[in-house]
């Protein structure tokens, strides 16, 4: 979350006029995330032991996890998209997990970041569908066998639902991270407020404190789950693009 006392102007994040606007702490944590992912992969796979150590099995498990997911969801043709999905998953996962460190900045809690990621996915999926199927891709918006009289209703609905993928994909990740961190802060405020009431208050403050500890654990689950959901939805969209329906 942002440093206290500073508010973030959400819309100005989309301004394209300041190309070299400076190095924000969002950029810093993206860089840390990228370096951490590279370090995990490079250092983890350096030894190539037959019986993997902790770091190596972490690298192998994450690789296999995404590989199996892409293979199951997209099929054989999807293997060439594996590097993309893997990069996306690791970037979002490390963004979410880095945000769980005290005093750290969660870059996935910013709509500008998640919307850009979702837009990259959307443009890639559409480009892949057009490259594979050509103009046949537009039959995606009208399911086979539907009565032709329903076309004026079905086609706009399908087009809107196709376009709203960008919004739902980005807002899901962004809202989850924001809501989770806000919830942690709200319960932390309860602890401080109750603690200022004296001895009875300090005893009472134990309850929100305990709940906050449990919530931190839950947030770690959400951090992983949202990265997983982001990756699996990318796979599902890629499946639609490769196979049409």
């Amino acid at each position: 979350m942002a440093v206290e006392g500073k508010t973030i102007d959400a819309l100005s994040q989309f301004e394209l006029t300041h190309v070299a606007a400076g190095f924000t702490n969002s950029n810093l944590y993206m860089l840390i995330g990228g370096v951490a992912i590279s370090a995990l992969m490079v250092l983890g796979m350096q030894k190539r032991a037959r019986v993997p150590g902790r770091l190596q099995s972490l690298a192998e498990v994450s690789y296999e996890f995404i590989y199996n997911m892409v293979d199951e969801q997209v099929g054989r043709e999807g293997r060439k998209f594996f590097p993309f999905v893997f990069t996306l998953f690791m970037f979002v996962l490390f963004g979410n997990l880095l945000g769980m460190l005290p005093y750290a900045f969660t870059f996935t809690s910013h709509i500008a970041v998640t919307f850009t990621l979702a837009l990259v996915v959307f443009i890639l999926v559409t480009a892949v569908a057009l490259a594979i199927h050509g103009t046949k891709f537009f039959s995606y918006f009208f399911p086979e066998g539907a009565p032709i009289a329903l076309a004026p209703i079905i086609i706009p609905v399908e087009i809107i639902s196709y376009l709203s993928r960008v919004v739902s994909l980005s807002v899901r990740l962004f809202a989850n991270m924001v809501a989770g961190h806000v919830m942690l802060k709200v319960f932390a405020t309860f602890v401080v407020l109750l603690g200022s009431l004296g001895v009875i208050g300090i005893i009472g403050a134990a309850a929100p404190l305990a709940l906050n500890v449990a919530l931190v654990g839950f947030e770690f689950l959400v951090a992983f789950l949202q990265a997983y959901v982001f990756a699996i939805l990318t796979c599902i969209y890629l499946h639609d693009a490769v196979h049409l329906h």
Binding site: V171, R172, A175, N176, A179, L225, Y228, V229
Partner: protein, 74 residues
């Protein structure tokens, strides 16, 4: 009506969506439990789908929360 009061009411109305989300998440986990109880061998295949359904449904609650925040603070 005062603008502040209208904002508070609007934010309250916006989170009525949680009614449906509660039903949905309950439904997902009840079917997950009953399918695992019927066929425990299918647990590994069914569990990720249930979690995916949970995450997608939970997102609807967060959309409602976002709208409530927008009404209150934007």
């Amino acid at each position: 009506m005062e603008v502040e009061a209208a904002k508070a009411l609007g934010a309250g109305i916006a989170v009525i969506a949680l009614f449906g989300v509660g039903l949905g998440i309950g439904n997902i986990f009840s079917s997950l439990i009953s399918s695992v109880a019927r066929n425990p061998a299918a647990r590994d295949a069914v569990f990720p789908i249930g979690i995916l359904g949970f995450a997608l449904t939970e997102a609807v609650a967060l959309f409602a929360l976002l709208i409530a925040f927008l009404i209150l603070f934007a």
